[in-house]
């Protein structure tokens, strides 16, 4: 993967494409936006289907409630804004008006993670997986590239119930192909290995792939899993990885507190305890900077994954 020349496309673009496709196929799709219609790519849908687009202004709580109303009437609303505002500002609305009622609302949180860049801490969502994971009925998808984002968007409609999709602002390497399998809740093993398993989601999958290549040079045979659905998490895949490879590294562009790695660790500890190392953001807010600089700054590079892998191996009995 490392040697290949890969296209760079933001995952939000994949969402935008998927949404238009859905809009053409299904008249029940409606789209809501909280004054971030261009940034979230909701405007791609709006251009083609203005009558099924609803702007709510800067009012995320109202947007989620309105989406719940649409869902009660059998529509399939996509409520779109930045991840920080979707998951944080409107959390109680998502809890009561969406998750508790198990309504068919799709929540689109773009600009997730530090790859937002210069806008800084208030705009870099580092908590969505944690915040959404604790809600019963909620499904969370973190696509690794634009193609997966498109497929996740389209697939999300076949799942009746709340879905949160975490997307990014900046270009991400397109590492999947149309022919690859994609099923919500089913992890994808990108590379088999016997020494340890690296689980990643979002654009960290690419970084983890680079790390696997590095580890190989040191004679370490790592398994790599694209865990695009942090919830419901693919337990079988995790238990198999723990029992077959005996060490785990979880990689996320997100806080490690209660996030993606925690979700994996919960399964490991209860079913097949083996060492787990986390690569992610540790109890900090984001800062301004270019995405590339920030990945370095927060220790989210392949080299950090390599180091975590070696530490996990050392802990292996």
């Amino acid at each position: 993967m490392a040697g290949e020349k890969l296209k760079m496309v933001p995952t939000r673009d994949g969402f935008g494409e998927g949404l238009i496709e859905l809009g053409r196929k299904n008249k029940d799709i409606v789209v809501l936006s909280a004054d971030l219609t261009d940034s979230t790519r909701a405007n791609w849908f709006k251009k083609e289907f203005p009558e099924r687009f609803f702007g709510l202004g800067v009012a995320e709580q109202d947007m989620i409630g309105t989406a719940a109303g649409f869902a009660l009437m059998g529509k399939i609303p996509f409520a779109c804004t930045f991840g920080v505002f979707a998951s944080g500002r409107a959390w109680d609305q998502i809890r009561v008006s969406v998750a508790y009622m198990n309504l068919n609302v799709k929540i689109i949180g773009t600009h997730g993670g530090i790859s937002v860049g210069p806008d800084g801490a208030t705009h870099q969502a580092l908590e969505e997986i944690s915040l959404m994971r604790i809600l019963p009925n909620m499904t969370i998808i973190v696509p690794c590239d634009a193609l997966e984002a498109k497929r996740a968007t389209i697939e999300s409609v076949n799942l009746k119930g709340p879905v949160y999709i975490r997307l990014g602002r900046s270009g991400a390497h397109v590492i999947t192909k149309e022919s690859d399998p994609f099923k919500i809740g089913k992890a994808v093993c990108l590379k088999d290995g016997k020494d340890l398993t690296i689980f990643a989601c979002g654009q960290m999958v690419y970084e983890a792939a680079l790390a696997c290549d590095e580890l190989k040079k040191d004679g370490i045979d790592a398994r790599l899993v694209n865990m695009h659905t942090p919830k419901p998490i693919d337990k079988d895949c995790i238990i198999k990885a723990a029992s077959q490879t005996g060490a785990i590294v979880a990689v996320e562009e997100h806080t490690i507190a209660g996030g993606f790695g925690s979700a994996i660790a919960e399964v490991v500890i209860e079913n097949c305890p083996v060492p787990v190392k986390f690569v992610g953001i540790r109890d900090r807010f984001g800062v301004s900077g270019e995405p590339d600089e920030l990945f370095e700054h927060f220790g989210l590079r392949a080299k950090n994954i390599v180091q975590a892998a070696k530490e996990a191996l050392a802990m292996k009995r």
Partner: protein, 277 residues
């Protein structure tokens, strides 16, 4: 609409108050004041304004009623049982483990359109239903009952702007204007100032009425239906704890249930009132 005469409905309101008190007493907890204040509003809705069918709660053509002030649910449960949405015996299991009658309304109980209890969320949902109905070219109406204290919540005003922006004349909000919340009188807790003007300025047609006068409430609902091009809000003057002398206007009765002897005193008062109609 063909409805029984007002006296019958006034009697019904008192019977519903009796049910509410029995439910709360058996439950041993719950919101007495804010349930008693909305009884006539619910009676006017369910026996006059709403298009509904208790035998077919999911009827496509029905109007929606959303209880945004979810803590007032004992009143709604009592009315729904009276209408035949579910068995009256279920009322006595309010708040008990295994009961469909949760401490705050939960979707799934026949006649309940939304789960609520976290204040401030109902009106946004009402707007979503109304917008969807418009897309479907359906002429259903959406009613949403809020507490006055509840309108401290910012989301209510976000939703108020949305309804006005989209000219949702199929939305009718009702404010249970009892002037009390938990910490005291609304004006002392956080003075909302010129309350009617607020709604007007947010683009709503405001209709003021006596929230315990069933005839006036019916007229208010009829008037709301005639408003075109903008949403309507009925601001209904009510008394928290209405109908039971020692509960009326007493802030401490917000979130407690009657004890046995209080229940008996209340029943006596209500029976006397019933006799006078």
């Amino acid at each position: 609409m063909n409805h029984p005469n007002i006296r019958e409905l006034q009697k019904k309101a008192i019977e519903i108050r009796k049910d509410i008190l029995k439910m709360l007493t058996l439950a041993g907890s719950g919101h007495t004041g804010g349930s008693l204040s909305i009884v006539e509003i619910l009676v006017a809705l369910y026996y006059h304004a709403l298009k509904n069918d208790p035998n077919n709660p999911k009827w496509k053509e029905r109007d929606y009623f959303l209880l945004s002030k979810g803590h007032g649910c004992p009143a709604l449960y009592a009315v729904l049982a009276e209408k035949g949405y579910f068995n009256r015996e279920d009322l006595w299991k309010l708040r008990k483990l295994g009961s469909m009658l949760q401490g705050h309304p939960q979707l799934g109980l026949p006649g309940i359109e939304i789960s609520s209890g976290s204040l401030g969320q109902g009106l946004s949902i009402a707007n979503g239903i109304a917008l969807a109905a418009r897309l479907d070219k359906s002429d259903i109406r959406v009613y949403c009952l809020l507490g006055d204290g509840e309108t401290n919540e910012g989301q209510v005003w976000e939703a108020a702007m949305t309804a006005a922006h989209y000219k949702l004349d199929n939305v009718c909000a009702i404010i249970d204007f009892n002037k009390l919340q938990i910490d005291g009188f609304c004006c002392d807790v956080k003075d909302m100032g010129a309350y009617f003007d607020k709604w007007k300025n947010f683009g709503w047609e405001t209709i003021e009425t006596d929230g315990h006068d069933i005839k006036k409430l019916m007229n208010a609902f009829d008037k709301a239906k005639t408003i075109k091009g903008m949403p309507a809000v009925i601001i209904a003057h009510t008394i928290k704890g209405k109908g039971v002398s020692f509960v009326e206007n007493k802030v401490e009765w917000h979130g407690i249930a009657p004890k046995k002897e209080e229940y008996e005193r209340a029943m006596k008062e209500l029976d006397e009132a019933l006799g006078k109609i």
